[in-house]
């Protein structure tokens, strides 16, 4: 079938799976709702009630990796079509992408030497 037909089928599959999950919720709900009791809806923290919110800026330590990831991610978008036509393009393709990858790899090595590749 055509590509559009295939995507429509996948969309229907996604909707169907979500519907299946919701019907499982429905079956469980038919046994009765949850009983509201004090303390039950507080997040479980090992025996002490902690009602404080934790929605705040979270201090991740991997932002060095994240920046390099962005660079490589942009490159991978180009890799997919290149990979498909690689064999018919031959040596030229290898050299073109080789230069691109080498530049990125040098960037990775530079980041490594400057301490980007560690827990900040």
């Amino acid at each position: 079938m055509s590509a559009l037909g295939q995507y429509a089928l996948l969309l229907a599959l996604a909707a169907g799976t979500a519907g299946l999950a919701l019907s499982v919720y429905g079956i469980a709900r038919s046994l009765g709702g949850a009983r509201r009791e004090p303390g039950k809806d507080v997040p479980a923290t090992a025996g002490e009630l902690s009602r404080e919110p934790v929605w705040a800026r979270y201090h991740v330590r991997y932002y060095g990796y994240a920046l390099l990831f962005l660079a490589f991610d942009m490159e991978m978008a180009y890799m997919y079509p290149w990979a498909v036509v690689y064999r018919q393009e031959g040596l030229v393709a290898l050299l073109d992408m080789g230069v691109f990858l080498a530049i990125l790899f040098l960037g990775l090595l530079y980041g490594w030497s400057q301490g980007a590749l560690k827990r900040q």
């Binding site: 479980a44 025996g47 404080e52 705040a56 800026r57």
Partner: protein, 540 residues
């Protein structure tokens, strides 16, 4: 009917689900899996799966008597379990504020298995019941209070206006101490999104991010971020049960750690007739009862002026060493569970139960098993990398036991005892002072202890009644699995007049801050676990 049944009549589809739930019971063990193992109970073999997440558990398994603080924590966990839920008490006495036990058994494996069978039928019949009662103890109720977003210290019980700046007070739940994500200093918003006052409240005007964060404490990489306070105890699956640990998290780094222990009520067990002192002290710490029993016997004998003969001393040494091996294996199992090494957790638990049940003749076989386990652990890939440098403490911090011996300090109370010298004892000392060194010290001690227990030949604790009508003062020291414990008693006519007990964990508790702070959360927890704290040994 079980006390935590779901509302509804047990008919049709519900009976099917109840039967399924009866076959798939998961237990949350209070105070902790290590206490259950130390008492000789094999929970998984009894048919209960174990979990450390309250919401995934259907059974609250209470092992042994609990102090009031732990009972309250258990009640909180019980309230957070999903219905249908039940309480299985093994050797526990009064359980308030928890509801009464649905099934009550003694502290033995056969009784536990029989109790689980009874629990299964109770679940199959009573998981859904028309008249289930709610669990609403007073301690769980939430109060609403009203606070000013700009001045968090202004708190009232009714809505109104802030006396300092005139802003309307915002409602929030009464927190048990902290005030939401705070910066450890000035700005403390009730919710994180109130924290930065650049919205024009009360004429603040525009503030740049640099100005707003000027006074905040900075993290180790120079950025000022919100800190969140989260409890990691007392019933946390990876840490010893009874350790009340509150960590202030800066992302996934621990900014501050404040531990406290449940402990035993002083001077409770230390008063009373001297002959029963050993029994009372043995009840303090479920993780090492034999050590405290021997400590009490020796102290009383020293005060009464009677010495113990060589055979008694040898037998006591055998019992102490068996308990040391079992305690280290129990620690190893919990530690392996914390670092996610599942095979090791199960193998160490198996060996611990085998050691606890062994006869003197079985000791050499267990020693060989311990040796092969230690070799296998050394060959585990990535384990050394995982543990190297974690929880590093230099020597001379006042620690004792394996924590000190792992830092190269050659201190061991057993060096000065005749029975041990006769058995050819040498303390195990390693360099490094980090979690890896402590692991190696304990592995070597397991093997050595099993060898000493085999050489001693007897594993019980003879308790001759030397203290009837005796008077005097005396002291004794014992090397418990966690460190050196000292007891000083003064007797008068067979009664204990005054006594002082010092266990090793009090000093180790003070080291938790140094081990955990400024470390990533997983490393901090590994460091705390590597100290092998027993929260039961400290006096409240």
């Amino acid at each position: 009917m079980i006390s935590g049944a779901r509302q509804g009549s047990p008919a049709g589809l519900r009976r099917l689900f109840a039967a399924a739930m009866a076959r798939d019971l998961r237990a949350f063990v209070v105070p902790g899996a290590e206490v259950a193992r130390a008492r000789g109970l094999d929970v998984e073999a009894a048919g209960l799966g174990m979990t450390g997440v309250p919401r995934h558990a259907s059974v609250l398994l209470v092992v042994g008597e609990l102090p009031a603080a732990l009972r309250r924590a258990a009640a909180v966990v019980y309230a957070q379990m999903m219905r249908p839920r039940a309480v299985l008490a093994a050797g526990a006495g009064d359980l308030s504020p928890l509801p009464g036990a649905d099934v009550s058994v003694g502290l033995s494996q056969e009784e536990l298995e029989e109790g689980v069978a009874r629990l299964r039928t109770a679940f199959a019949r009573g998981a859904f019941a028309p008249g289930a009662a709610g669990f609403e103890p007073e301690m769980l109720r939430a109060r609403t209070e009203y606070a000013c977003p700009m001045h968090p210290e202004v708190v009232q019980d009714e809505p109104g206006a802030c006396p300092k700046c005139g802003m309307e007070l915002v409602s929030r739940e009464a927190a048990d101490g902290g005030s939401g994500p705070h910066h450890g200093g000035d700005h403390g918003g009730a919710n994180g999104d109130h924290g930065h006052g650049g919205h024009g409240h009360g004429g603040m005007g525009f503030m740049s991010m640099v100005e707003m964060t000027k006074d905040l404490p900075r993290s180790s990489d120079g950025l000022p971020m919100e800190w969140v306070e989260a409890p990691f105890g007392p019933l946390f699956p990876g840490l010893p049960g009874g350790l009340f640990l509150k960590l202030t998290l800066d992302g996934d780094t621990v900014a501050e750690a404040s531990p406290s222990a449940c402990g035993w009520a002083s001077p409770g067990p230390l008063t009373g007739p001297a002959d029963a002192l050993a029994e009372r002290l043995a009840g303090i710490d479920p993780l090492s009862p034999a050590s405290y029993r021997v400590l009490a016997l020796r102290a009383v004998e020293d005060a009464a002026g009677a010495g113990a003969d060589e055979r008694t001393a040898r037998a006591r040494a055998g019992a102490l060493e068996r308990e040391r091996a079992a305690s280290h294996l129990g620690w190893l199992s919990g530690f392996a569970y914390l670092i996610g090494h599942r095979w090791l957790a199960r193998r160490a638990a198996e060996l611990q139960l085998a050691v606890l049940r062994a006869e003197p003749a079985g000791m050499p076989g267990l020693r060989a098993a311990a040796r092969s386990l230690a070799r296998r652990i050394e060959r585990t890939p990535l384990l050394a990398r995982r543990l190297e440098g974690i929880g590093a403490l230099p020597g001379g911090t006042g620690a004792s036991g394996p924590v000190a011996r792992a830092a190269g300090v050659r201190t061991d109370a057993r060096c000065g005892e005749g029975a041990y010298r006769a058995l050819g004892f040498e303390p195990v000392v390693r360099e490094g002072g980090d979690a890896l060194a402590r692991l190696r010290v304990r592995l070597a001690e397991i093997e050595e202890s099993l060898g000493l227990a085999a050489a001693a030949g007897s594993l019980d604790i003879p308790a001759p009644r030397t203290a009837t009508g005796a008077s005097g003062a005396g002291a004794a020291t014992v090397e418990t699995p966690r460190g050196t414990a000292t007891l000083r008693v003064a007797l008068s006519d067979g009664e204990v007049v005054s006594a002082e007990l010092e266990g090793p964990s009090a000093r180790h508790l003070a080291l938790v801050g140094r081990v955990a702070e400024q470390r990533e959360l997983a490393d901090a927890l590994v460091g705390v676990a590597s100290l092998d704290l027993s929260p039961w040994e400290t006096a409240r």
